[in-house]
C-alpha cells in the first residue's frame, strides 16, 4: 500500500501532509513571539541534558530571535535560536535539528557542534545543540546536548485553549503518528545507487518530453517502487513498477471498477481484472 499523501482531521476534512519543515515553522514562530515557550523549552531540555550546565537560562523578558535554515560553510542548522542578549553580552544560541523520519547524515551531531564552536565568541557567548524528534528516535540523539520530544511539544500546545495552538497540536500529533507508522528512514547506499541508475536509464531510454519519472534521490531500504506518468495523462493516472516483486500496475484514480471492465473486455486475456487496492 502506498503511504497516503493526505490525512483527515476529526471533522473528516483533508489536511496537508506533514513534513519536517512544518516543525521548523512552528518552532520559529513560537520562539519569536512567546517567552513562555522559550522557558518551557529550556526547562524540558534540562530534564534530559547530559550536562545541564550547558542549558543556559536567561531573563524572562529578553529578546529571542529564531532563524530557519541557518547555513554556514560548515552546513545547515534547521533552526538557530538566539536568546538572552543584553547591551553588553552576546546572546546564547540553540542549534536545533528537527527529525521526523529521516536518519542522521554522517557526523550530523558533530557538525552541529562544529557550527556552535564556530560562532562562539563572535555571534554568541554560549551555545547548545538540541535534537527535536520522537521519543523513540535513534540513540544518536545522545550526541546532542539535549533532546526534546515531539510528544512534549505537542502536549505543550494541546494544553492551550486558543485555536492556533490547537492547530499546532494537531500538526505535531500527525507528525508523531507518521513516525509511529513508518519509523526512521535510514539512507541505504545500495538502494540510493539503484535509484540513481534507474533514473539514468529512464533518461536514456524513455522518449524525451513524454514521461515524468522518479528522479535520483536518497533512498532507504526496500524503497523499491518507481512511478511513471505520461505528460499527456490526466492527473492521478500513473504506472507503478515494484522492482522487488516484479509487479507493474496501471493506476487509475477511481473507486469504481465498473468502467474499467470495458478495457478488460477490449483487451481480452492481456489485461487482468481491475482491483481497487487503494484508489
Amino acid at each position: 500500500m502506498p503511504v497516503p499523501k493526505e490525512d483527515s482531521n476529526k471533522h473528516g476534512k483533508l489536511v496537508s501532509p506533514v513534513e519536517e519543515r512544518h516543525i521548523d515553522y512552528i518552532l520559529e514562530e513560537e520562539f519569536s513571539v512567546s517567552s513562555e515557550f522559550l522557558s518551557f523549552f529550556l526547562q524540558q531540555a534540562r530534564l534530559n541534558a547530559n550536562d545541564k550546565s550547558r542549558i543556559v537560562g536567561c531573563m524572562q523578558d529578553g529578546e529571542c530571535i529564531a532563524v530557519r535554515s541557518a547555513t554556514t560553510e560548515k552546513g545547515e542548522t534547521d533552526l538557530l535560536v538566539k536568546y538572552g542578549a543584553t547591551d553588553r553580552t552576546l546572546p546564547i544560541a540553540i542549534l536545533i535539528e528537527d527529525k521526523i523520519r529521516a536518519g542522521f547524515q554522517p557526523n550530523q551531531p558533530k557538525r552541529y557542534r562544529e557550527r556552535g564552536d564556530g560562532g562562539k565568541g563572535k555571534e554568541w557567548s554560549e551555545y547548545w545543540t538540541c535534537l527535536v524528534a520522537h521519543t523513540k528516535y535513534s540513540t544518536d540523539g545522545e550526541d546532542f546536548d539535549a533532546v526534546l520530544s515531539l510528544e512534549s511539544i505537542q502536549e505543550y500546545f494541546a494544553s492551550k485553549t486558543d485555536e492556533r495552538s490547537r492547530f499546532r497540536a494537531r500538526i505535531l500529533e500527525q507528525t508523531i503518528r507518521k513516525y509511529e507508522a513508518t519509523g526512521i528512514q535510514i539512507i541505504d547506499p545500495g538502494m540510493t545507487r539503484f535509484r540513481s541508475m534507474y533514473a539514468s536509464e529512464c533518461a536514456r531510454s524513455l522518449q524525451p518530453g513524454q514521461w515524468e519519472y522518479d528522479k535520483a534521490r536518497d533512498a532507504w531500504w526496500d524503497d523499491t517502487w518507481f512511478y511513471f506518468r505520461g505528460t499527456a495523462w490526466p492527473k492521478g493516472v500513473q504506472i507503478r513498477h515494484q522492482a522487488r516483486t516484479g509487479r507493474i500496475d496501471l493506476i487509475l484514480p477511481s473507486s469504481d471498477p465498473t468502467p474499467l471492465r470495458a478495457v478488460v473486455e477490449q483487451w481480452g486475456g492481456l489485461v487482468p481484472a481491475p482491483t481497487t487496492a487503494w484508489n
Binding site: 541508475m197 523499491t224 522487488r244 496501471l250 470495458a262
Partner: protein, 53 residues
C-alpha cells in the same frame, strides 16, 4: 517482469530494457483504451492527437 533481488552496491544492473518494454506496453494499452474510460480518466483529445503524431 523480472524481479530484482539484490540492491546492494556491488549488484549487477538488472535488464532495464525489460522494465521499459513492460511500462511502454502498459502505457500503450491505456492510451489506446482511454476513450472507453470516464472523462476524468481519459486523455484529452488534443493530447491524444499529439501522441499519435
Amino acid at each position: 517482469m523480472p524481479k530484482v533481488a539484490d540492491f546492494s552496491l556491488d549488484a549487477q544492473p538488472p535488464e532495464f530494457e525489460q522494465f521499459f518494454a513492460a511500462i511502454e506496453f502498459l502505457a500503450g494499452l491505456y492510451e489506446k483504451s482511454s476513450n472507453l474510460l470516464p472523462e476524468a480518466l481519459r486523455i484529452p483529445d488534443i493530447q491524444k492527437a499529439l501522441l499519435t503524431e
